[in-house]
């Protein structure tokens, strides 16, 4: 699902860097002596943005160039933080990219490894316009309070269910209800499914669980034994992967309820199904994609450009574009503000409704998804045990 603005963004980025290096060798005096130094400076304002495909706005990145002179090169990072972290730590990601757009949870670890650098918020005035609680998210800050990640989009997940079969569902208990044996599903991803099970055990069964997104060794054992027992009982029809499979499970009546993404409900309703998204009493599983400043940008003297880029993403246009075309929300007051000020470009009512809906979720109980819990390799080991149970 890679969409790229150039035929070969990596090559393009490398050529740009080689060009800049060659120009740097000849010194500023050379460019100052040229009659068209202006455009050369504008070319310097290029940013390699390495992010989840959902953050790409395709041809509309031209709006960034129009507003700031920055030319971005978007590269899909695959949205899987395992390879992303490995490529930062042991690969060439910092040689190629300046800004990252990553699934949340690995920021503090990447900072400790020296792969990302804190943002200078004095250079990002739009940061102040983020929703208040978003600015205070602890997992996006270093120990000294420095801001490591800026939320690009946020949302919160729960349960998709058929209202014609189940009425109103308000608990993850439906996923583990023996009466629905073989009629429920979860995602084939420990990041989400262990967290959902932990939220249920913590909220509905008062089990001693601290942070469902970052389980200790004992908590993880408790949660996984619980899932293994239900799997052995035949509770789950399947573990699903990807958008198409998720939609198909609901659309073809393979399951009556499953943990998953809200857009699947929208797709189900479009197909005439009676489906809804639960507001579980135990809480939602919140997630975010965050913009991070890669160390390589600093090394290449692109600090200010990267900050300008990050500030533009919070300026309103990007939020409206993403909300309209992807259904995701940039958690900033600028999103609704820009939509209201530009009714010819965007459906303000639609965008505000989406923003209010997401904000309402976060007014309740939310636990954060964490792509890199402390015991992440143990998570995988337990997931194998679940697979093989």
């Amino acid at each position: 699902m890679t969409r790229q603005r150039t035929l070969n963004p990596l090559a393009s980025n490398m050529q740009r860097r080689q060009m800049l290096k060659m120009m740097g060798a000849s010194g500023l005096g050379l460019t100052a002596g040229l009659p068209f130094a202006g455009p050369a400076v504008a070319q310097d304002k290029a940013i390699g943005f390495w992010a989840s495909a959902t953050l790409d706005i395709g041809a509309n990145w031209s709006r960034l160039t129009d507003a700031t002179g920055i030319t971005p090169t978007f590269t899909d990072n695959g949205n899987d933080m395992g390879p992303v972290v490995a490529r930062l730590a042991a690969g060439n990601a910092n040689d190629l990219f300046d800004v990252g757009g990553f699934q949340g949870g690995a920021e503090r670890e990447l900072f400790k490894q020296g792969q990302i650098v804190p943002w200078d918020l004095t250079k990002i005035p739009n940061f102040e316009k983020l929703w208040p609680w978003v600015k205070d998210m602890a997992h996006l800050k270093a120990d000294d309070g420095a801001q490591l990640g800026i939320p690009s989009v946020v949302n919160a997940d729960s349960i998709i269910y058929r209202t014609d079969k189940l009425g109103v569902v308000d608990s993850y208990g439906v996923i583990f209800d023996p009466k629905l044996r073989g009629r429920v599903a979860m995602e084939d991803a420990w990041i989400n499914s262990t967290a959902f099970a932990a939220i249920y055990l913590k909220g509905a069964e008062n089990q001693p669980i601290g942070d469902p997104g970052n389980l200790t060794v004992d908590e993880l054992g408790l949660v996984m034994e619980f899932l293994i027992k239900h799997k052995k009982d035949g509770q789950f029809r399947t573990f699903w992967n990807g958008w198409e499979q998720g939609v198909q499970l609901i659309a073809d009546e393979e399951v009556d309820a499953m943990t998953g993404w809200e857009p699947i409900v929208y797709e189900g309703i479009k197909r005439g199904l009676e489906v809804a998204y639960a507001a579980p009493a135990e809480g939602y599983l919140g997630w975010g994609n965050n913009t991070v400043l890669l160390k390589g940008a600093i090394d290449r003297g692109l600090t200010d450009t990267a900050h300008e880029f990050a500030n533009w993403m919070l300026d309103g246009y990007y939020g409206c574009d993403i909300a309209t075309n992807r259904g995701y929300i940039v958690p900033s007051e600028t999103t609704a503000g820009y939509a209201a000020a530009n009714p010819a470009d965007f459906d303000a009512a639609d965008i505000m409704a989406k923003a209010d809906h997401v904000a309402a979720k976060f007014n309740g109980k939310v636990f954060w998804q964490n792509v890199r819990p402390d015991n992440f390799q143990l998570y995988e080991e337990w997931w194998q045990k679940l697979r093989n149970a």
Partner: protein
């Protein structure tokens, strides 16, 4: 023949560089140590990767993968053999061409779409269950048609049967019609001819077809993930899981073990059946 070494050199180099070198690298790295500070591996000898295979039931995934591959390969041979026989001995030239074209139909679409279409066909509301209920063969849709080992095997056989059929088609010309006529003249029945002449002469083709399917199933994942039950696994899925948490030595160790098993299978098969005979002309 001075050109022969030259003609051999390029493909040989290609095989060595593109095929063997990465595999050797993986084998060497499987003995290195994971470094949590860099998220990569460091050249300190360790057997941790191989010991990891013994944890969390990973070795059972290896065995289950081999069992799936064995069953799929045998089923593919059982289905492909009569087809190859019919194309070679029974069909006219035109019909043979049509049948061979039909074998390639699974390749007309991507493996993802293929697996997904089986998901639709075998589901609770799919046409197969609809037909079973409509004809009164069952009272309710059969749940086990989808998200089960049965569904996985259907997907695997449907995808990989052509890989068994084509080596068999290559092997059939080794059975010279004059031998069959002679056997008939001497009073041998159909099954006796099949058992004593056709099967032995086409053994290299059978093994080549078996090997193709076996290797491809060992490396597959889509059919298992789309059609298997909750959390169904196969080696490729397990390696992917392990790579996601950057446990590279374990991923490399699993890959090395699989590689060794497949290599052993090829060598044993070649020793038993003589794969080179597949290209060696008619019966001797």
């Amino acid at each position: 023949m001075p050109r022969v070494p030259f003609l051999l050199a390029l493909p040989l180099v290609a095989v060595l560089v593109l095929g063997l070198a990465p595999l050797l690298t993986i084998a060497v790295w499987s003995f290195w140590t994971w470094d949590p500070s860099t998220y990569w591996i460091k050249p300190e000898p360790s057997l941790a990767g191989y010991l990891g295979i013994l944890n969390a039931g990973r070795w059972t995934v290896l065995l289950a993968t081999l069992a799936k591959a064995l069953l799929a390969a045998v089923l593919c041979l059982i289905l492909a053999y009569p087809l190859a026989y019919a194309i070679h001995f029974l069909a006219g030239r035109r019909m043979a061409l049509i049948l061979m074209a039909a074998i390639t139909i699974p390749f007309f679409t991507s493996y993802l779409i293929r697996a997904f279409s089986w998901r639709l066909a075998l589901g609770r509301t799919g046409p197969i269950n609809d037909a079973l209920v409509a004809f009164g063969l069952t009272d309710a849709p059969l749940d086990w048609l989808l998200f089960s080992n049965f569904a996985v095997m259907v997907g695997l056989v449907a995808s990989y049967m052509p890989f068994a059929a084509f080596p068999l088609l290559l092997a059939m010309p080794r059975v010279e019609p004059s031998i069959l006529v002679a056997a008939q003249d001497l009073g041998a029945g159909f099954w006796r001819i099949v058992r004593t002449i056709i099967l032995p002469l086409t053994l290299p083709g059978m093994f080549a077809g078996f090997l193709f399917v076996f290797v491809m199933v060992v490396g597959s994942s889509t059919e298992v993930q789309m059609l298997g039950g909750a959390g169904a696994s196969i080696v490729s899925v397990m390696v992917n899981d392990v790579m996601r948490v950057a446990n590279f030595p374990l991923a490399f160790a699993i890959s090395t073990v699989v590689l060794a098993l497949l290599l052993g299978l090829v060598l044993i098969g070649n020793w038993l059946f003589g794969l080179s005979r597949l290209f060696g002309g008619g019966a001797s």
